[in-house]
């Protein structure tokens, strides 16, 4: 079998005595949508910080596209094609929608130490940014100020920015957080479409969305993966039912 795109081996992170990521291992294959679910406080956000390079791991290994990236910074990981979105929307409110995406294109196309030509007039950057916006259906909003978008549109822009980095693998940190029913339907359709071209690691609370989208699901509880498998396998996994789904149904 060929090497997975992302291979995580025995990843650990502790804050003081608290092991927040406790020996996590999993593989993500090319063009797979791999969801990571878990109850609140399971350590999902810490894990995505470790995968994206925002937070250094205590031990363990992360390999991406055949290369050990464990020690690399967030910037170096993005350049290799591993991009993330943020759970708390962190687009640049003061810039236009297209500039938010164009900046991500700029980061990978040529030096940014250019001081004279107006960046917003660079055709190539804008064209690629527009393509990313078109994929998330935001092209008609391109010239609005990003801060003026609705919450759902901001979530779409988050994804467009990750796309615009030219990433092979998208780490999506709760893209549905805070969205209403309609907004969430738009985003689920969008991810369904993205699956065709990108490998995705999806961290999400919304179970309906996860089971509709995921090829495989891993369940994180107190920093450990207690199960990995197809949605069907996970749904019927006794430990998962006990630790997580049962708890939800009971609640």
């Amino acid at each position: 079998m060929r090497e997975p795109l992302l291979a995580v081996t025995d990843l650990r992170k502790s804050f003081g005595a608290l092991a927040v990521t406790d020996g996590v291992s999993f593989d993500v294959h090319g063009n797979e949508l791999h969801a990571i679910i878990g109850p609140n406080g399971a350590g999902k956000t810490t894990l995505i910080h470790q995968l994206s390079g925002n937070l250094a791991s205590d031990s363990g290994k992360v390999r991406f596209a055949g290369e050990d990236i464990t020690k690399l910074s967030m910037v170096e990981r993005v350049r290799r094609g591993l991009a993330r979105s943020f759970q708390i929307t962190s687009i640049l409110d003061g810039f236009t929608v297209i500039e938010n995406a164009a900046m991500a294109v700029q980061a990978r196309s040529g030096s940014s130490f250019r001081f004279l030509r107006p960046a917003s007039k660079e055709r190539r950057l804008n064209d690629e940014a527009m393509a990313a916006l078109a994929r998330v259906k935001l092209d008609d909003r391109a010239h609005r100020r990003a801060g003026s978008l609705s919450h759902g549109e901001k979530r779409q822009l988050e994804i467009a920015i990750a796309l615009a980095t030219g990433a092979k693998l998208l780490l999506l940190d709760e893209p549905l957080a805070g969205t209403g029913h309609e907004e969430s339907a738009v985003l689920v359709a969008l991810m369904q479409e993205l699956k065709q071209t990108h490998t995705i690691v999806l961290i999400e609370h919304d179970m309906d969305a996860v089971f509709a989208l995921a090829d495989r699901v891993s369940v994180l509880v107190y920093g450990r993966l207690i199960a990995t498998g197809t949605p069907e396998e996970v749904r019927t996994h006794p430990e998962v039912r006990a630790a997580y789904l049962g708890e939800e149904e009971a609640a």
Binding site: S90, G94, E99, Q106, F113
Partner: protein, 339 residues
Amino acid sequence: MSAGSDVAVSGAVPDVAPRRGGMLAGRGSALAAALIFSALAVLPPIALAIGDPFLVVMATRIVVFAIAALSLDLVLGYGAMVSFGHAAFVGLGAYAVAILASHGIDDVLVQALAAILLCSLFALVTGAISLRTKGVYFIMITLAFGQMAYFFMVSLSAYGGDDGLTLSARSTLFGLPVLAGDISLFYASLAVLVLAFLGLRALTLSRFGRVLRGTRENPIRMQAIGFQPFAFQLTAYVIAGALAGLAGVLLANQAEFVSPAYMSWQRSGELIVMVVLGGMGTLVGPIGGAIAFLLLEDWLAHFSEHWKLGLGVLLVLLVLFTRGGIAGGVERLFGRARP
């Protein structure tokens, strides 16, 4: 970071709004700058006509400090780095003139080149160390480095030490005393100001400037798309230092005297006040701020030798009684220029 997620959809401005606009923010800024520059350009003939040549001297000082404030705005307004040591660069630039002149090197181009190199180097070293930290550390460290430069000049007795150094004459260009007249010095300074304004305008809109502005808004986001903020912030710090050094070259010529007082931390504080009063993150703001500040200083000084008291009270009241600080208050008073 700015929590602007609830901005009203309907009233959105389609362009890039500055984080904190002042009285001269927005797209009217180019027009405002053109008006200021034209008014300054016609000032000398008017001053001569009404028989008040001192106006030109005053205007030269204003233009010089406008250049310095403009350079600080790149760091403070566009880079979101609260640097409290900016006057050191102005002083180093001024000393480059005085020290070279005392060794017989009068040419303004050589002096300006030396000032730019010296200030760039100082900014590169101190900036690289300061930018390893954030927040209150950054403020204290830039202040301390500024003070280090100040004490260095105070103890450099070979070049006047605490007393400063008087220039025997203004700088020359290829041996010609082109800056000897107050009016020619004024126009030379104004030319530098206009060029600096146009240069920084291009810079802030360029690829580099866009990354700098993005970092101001959200450094983590910028890292997540592949930019390392440090290199951009340091570059901005060096460019600003070099430009402030150029202001120092002009200041030395204007006063025909240099002294460590140019680099005192009070001077740095005054530069910050100019930038914030005028509107940081807008290029025309610091120019307006420098004009307002120096005129205010001049005006207050007529009333009392204790004019600094008035300035202090004004600062405290402005911060306390305007929500969101001075810039926010000024913005509410004058309204942000909208297209």
